[in-house]
Symmetry: C2
Subunit: 191 residues, 2 copies
């Protein structure tokens, strides 16, 4: 039996804490919804910020809401290099010791000592699927794509999630382009 997964390609984006929303956009400010996303309750906000490093700037980086406990910036390896910071490949939330950047909003700036990462590829696994095949959060699998730039991505971390209805693998733009696949394409879990 083939196990098929839907690929979701993440562009650079930022999750902000309440404190940082206020520092960047003003006291009492609330993010506004531009577009809802595949993951439950997540949305792309109308608001954007500039992300600055020692060598350059990424302009108008989209904020993804709702607010989180801790601010997290997700960019590609190329973007990290462009602004002159180290590329830390990390799972979401695993921010200790990651890169520092400066955020610039309409009303202020925030100096992040850490929190800028390159997202580690992962697959959201429905709880029912995990139970059936004996998977748990933290297990890794490989995923094979097809086509002229076919690739096998190894070390994909599984995250068991009761809110997820289907297997969904998250890649960043460079991983997707290296395989010449796009958002919504299908791939195969091979081990």
């Amino acid at each position: 039996m083939k196990t098929i997964v839907t690929v979701n390609v993440s562009n650079r984006h930022i999750h902000l804490s309440r404190e940082h929303v206020e520092a960047l956009f003003g006291a009492g400010y609330k993010l506004t919804v531009k577009k809802t996303l595949m993951q439950p309750i997540q949305f792309a906000a109308n608001e954007v910020v500039d992300v600055l490093g020692p060598k350059g700037m990424l302009e108008k980086v989209r904020i993804v809401g709702p607010e989180r406990i801790r601010t997290q910036v997700e960019i590609t390896v190329s973007e990290a290099r462009k602004i002159g910071i180290e590329a830390f490949v990390r799972l979401s939330g695993n921010l200790d010791g990651s890169a520092g950047v400066t955020l610039k909003g309409t009303e202020g700036i925030v100096e992040l000592k850490e929190g800028c990462i390159v997202a580690k590829r992962h697959v959201h696994v429905p709880a029912s699927f995990a139970e059936e095949f004996g998977y748990k959060t933290g297990d890794t699998v490989s995923m094979k794509t097809s086509g002229e730039r076919a690739v096998v991505f190894e070390n994909i971390v599984m995250r068991v999630d009761k809110n997820n209805a289907e297997l969904e693998c998250h890649l960043d733009i460079e991983e997707a382009n290296a395989a010449l696949i796009k958002n919504g394409d299908k791939a195969e879990i091979i081990k």
Copy 2:
């Protein structure tokens, strides 16, 4: 026996014809050498051009000499998207029907009807190696990288080249970043 290959990461660059060197930099102009490259007789030139598409521009794209019969622009999928052209994944020299762009030099512009590609990954194979293992130009192999973003790149085209002293795989920046490998790193041919 493990077959080890050296990875060479190509940044965006341009090869120019004599005619286009003159159109961009003036009659009789000769490219000047900034740095010699791994491949015999190739060099990064001091000269750069801007590459324009319908949606944007790539500034200061490096010229790689010496001149060629036909002008060829090599960029990433992200860069193609940024300037609003289609990404054609092609081997070097296979330019018919590929994307058109405008080149801007210090003395003039060139409208290319075709010639802009995303380089198809390939491995330069020493003739002696090809003979020993029965490979020929156009055969494909897979290459496995290691580390936390380990990847198997499939469909790597072999190019037998009597000038090459060792196996050398050429990837673009997005492929290298997807695997978190850098210029000069080693990988393994696995079939």
